[in-house]
Symmetry: C2
Subunit: 352 residues, 2 copies
C-alpha cells in the first residue's frame, strides 16, 4: 500500500457501438499512446480474421488488384505524424445545442502512421478514363436508415486519393494498427476530418460517378440552416482550431504566474501563430510554440503561455490559432449536425 | 482479433490530486464494482503502511483507546448497502455556473460497507461530560488556505456519531477497502454527503466545542447568495435526487417504445415514488421501481419507464423522486460553492 499513482482514462460516450473520448486535458505527449486514442464507431466491431488481411482494388481500373497485408509491407512506405479529429469534436459547445455524440475537446488524437501511398497502388492497377472518385469500404456494417446491413463507405475525389500523403496504412506508432483503430489496414487521409480515414479497409473502387452513400450525403454534411437542407456542403478538411488543455474549464487558480498550455492544428498545414486573450478578444498576446519533435505538415502545434495575474476575479482565457488561410472565428459556424466546431477556445477560471 | 468488447472507464476530472467520475450512465448493477467508484481527493494520497493500521480514540473520553485493524475485525459488525455521493455531484448543471470540479452525474456510487458501529467503540472508551462533537482526521494532508500541512478533518454532532449506522468500516463489497477509497479503515456516515465519510482514518476525538476546520466551515457550506456569506449552513444530509441513466442527454431515439431507466436516492431514507414527465412537468407518470436485491434504508432505487413515443421531434424527459419529506424541486437551490444540486433531472432527446 505504498504511494498510489493516478492516470487518465478514456471518457465513455457510448458502448454499443463504442464511442470514447480522449482525456486530452491530461495528455502531454505529442504522439499519443494508442490507449488514449479517441474511439468513434458507427457499427459493432467487425470480426477481423486472416481472410480480412486482403484488400481489393476494383472498379474502373485496368488491372484489378487483390493485395495482402504481407505484400503491402514489401512496398516503399512513408510515415506521417498527423492529427485525426472527429468532425463532431466540440459538438457539445454549439448553441443552439445539437443532438448527437456530446463530444467535448477530446475527439482528437495524434499518431504516427506508416503506409503505402495509394497513388503507388493505383499506379499498379492503372486508372480508367472518366474516373471521378475512389470509394473505400470498411468491414464494419450494421443498420443505417432503412438499410439493415449498410457498410461504412466513403469516397474521395480522385485528386485527393492520388495525393502522395493519402496512404494505405498498416502501422500506427511503430506497431500494427490496434484492432479498435482499423486493423490490419486503414485508409489515412491527412488533413481531413477522420470519417475519411476508413477503418478495417476491405475494398477500394475507382468510380466514374459521385458516390451518394449515407455517410457521404446524409451524415458528414454541413447543413447551415435550422429548418432546411439548403446551402449544404460536405465535411472535408479540418478547420484551423485550438484547445486550451490547462487550466481546466471552471477551475480555480492562485494569483501569480499560471501556465496556460494547449494545442493548435489545421488541415491547411502549419499554424503560423497562436494568440491568447483574457479580455474577451480586445487584446491578444502571442503564445510560445513548443519544440516538440513533431514537425509534420499535419501535426498539431503545442504551445504555452505564462499568464501573470494578480487581480482576483473571474476570467475567460481565449486561444486563437491562425494558419495560412485565416484564424479561428470568435463564434462557431452553426450547422444542423454539429460538425467542424472551431470557434476560439474559451476557458473560464476564477483567480483567488 | 476476434470480436472486441467495450467497457466504460472513470472520467478524469483531475490527476493531482486525483478526481475521477463514475461512468454512471453505463453502469447497470446496484452494488458497483470498486473500479467504477468515483474518486475525490483533496490532497495527494497518503503513504499508508502497517503503522497506519491503528486508530486512536482520544479527547473527552474516560479511557482513551488505540485499536488495531485486527482488533476491529473481532468486534460485532454490521454491513450496510449505501450511496456515497459527493456534495458537488451535478455541479456543472448550476446556472449561473459555479467554479470547482465540473461533476456531471457520476460523483456517486453504491457499495456494501462492513464495519463496527462507532457507538460500540465509544462505549468502550466512555464519553466525558459536555461532549458536543466527534472529530475525525484522515492520514491525507497538504496545502489548504494558509496552512501548508492541513489534514483532512471533519466533525459530526455527537448524536450522529452515536447513530447505530455510523460505522468504522474495514470492508467494502466483501473485501478490504480499496486503497483509493480509504484503506484500511474509513468512517462511513450513511445518508450524509460523502465528505463526512473520512478516508484513511487516523484518529477520532470527542470534543466539547464546535470544530471549525476549513473542510467544515469554509468548504462544504451552503452560501445561498452571490456576493455575501449570509444565511450559510453546513452541508450534511443527501438531498432527495434522481438521475436518468438512459437515454443519454442529447441523444437521438427511434420512434416507438424506448426504455428510460435511472436511479433515485435520498439521505432521508426510502424513495416513495419516481415520476417521469415529457411535457416539461405539466403531467407526471409513475416509473416502476425495479426489484434489485438491495433494500437498505440508504440505497438507491433503480427504476424504469417504458416511453411510447410516435411523434418525431425534440423532447425533454424529466425525472422526479419523492421521499418522506418531499420531492425534487424543478429548479436547483443555487449556492456559491455548488453543493447539493437536486433539481429534477432533465434529459434532452430527439425522436426521429
Amino acid at each position: 500500500m505504498g504511494k498510489q499513482s493516478s492516470r487518465p482514462f478514456l471518457m465513455t460516450r457510448n458502448l454499443h457501438p463504442e464511442v470514447q473520448e480522449s482525456p486530452i486535458h491530461f495528455l502531454k505527449k505529442n504522439i499519443i499512446s494508442n490507449e488514449f486514442f479517441y474511439i468513434r464507431n458507427h457499427f459493432p466491431y467487425p470480426n477481423i480474421h486472416q481472410g480480412n488481411f486482403e484488400v481489393t482494388i476494383e472498379g474502373n481500373v485496368m488491372y484489378p488488384y487483390h493485395f495482402h497485408l504481407a505484400q503491402l509491407r514489401q512496398l516503399p512506405s512513408v510515415t506521417i505524424d498527423l492529427v485525426l479529429e472527429c468532425a463532431g469534436n466540440k459538438r457539445s459547445k454549439f448553441s443552439p445545442k445539437v443532438h448527437g455524440e456530446q463530444w467535448e475537446d477530446g475527439a482528437i488524437h495524434q499518431g504516427s502512421w506508416r503506409g503505402v501511398p495509394l497513388k503507388d497502388l493505383l499506379a499498379i492497377t492503372g486508372i480508367g478514363q472518366g474516373a471521378k472518385e475512389v470509394l473505400f469500404t470498411g468491414h464494419d456494417m450494421g443498420e443505417k436508415g432503412k438499410s439493415p446491413h449498410a457498410s461504412f463507405s466513403r469516397s474521395l475525389p480522385i485528386e485527393k486519393a492520388l495525393h502522395p500523403d493519402t496512404i494505405i496504412a498498416y502501422e500506427c506508432n511503430g506497431k500494427e494498427i490496434p484492432y479498435k483503430h482499423g486493423a490490419p489496414i486503414r485508409l489515412i487521409v491527412p488533413g481531413w476530418y477522420a470519417m475519411a480515414s476508413v477503418k478495417w479497409l476491405k475494398s477500394i473502387a475507382v468510380i466514374n460517378h459521385r458516390f451518394d452513400g449515407p455517410f457521404q450525403t446524409d451524415d458528414y454534411v454541413y447543413y447551415p440552416h435550422q429548418n432546411s437542407k439548403e446551402d449544404s456542403f460536405p465535411v472535408t478538411k479540418i478547420n484551423v482550431n485550438s484547445t486550451i488543455q490547462k487550466p481546466l474549464n471552471y477551475s480555480k487558480l492562485k494569483r501569480g504566474e499560471n501556465l496556460v498550455r494547449g494545442i493548435a492544428w489545421s488541415g491547411n498545414g502549419p499554424i503560423s501563430k497562436i494568440e491568447i486573450s483574457y479580455d474577451n478578444g480586445v487584446t491578444w498576446e502571442k503564445a510560445i510554440k513548443e519544440k516538440n519533435g513533431v514537425t509534420s505538415f499535419y501535426a498539431w502545434e503545442s504551445w504555452t503561455y505564462l499568464w501573470n495575474i494578480d487581480k482576483p476575479g473571474e476570467y475567460v482565457i481565449l486561444s486563437k490559432a491562425t494558419d495560412s488561410t485565416g484564424s479561428q472565428p470568435l463564434e462557431p459556424f452553426w450547422n444542423q449536425k454539429g460538425y467542424g466546431y472551431n470557434a476560439v477556445h474559451r476557458t473560464h477560471v476564477k483567480v483567488e
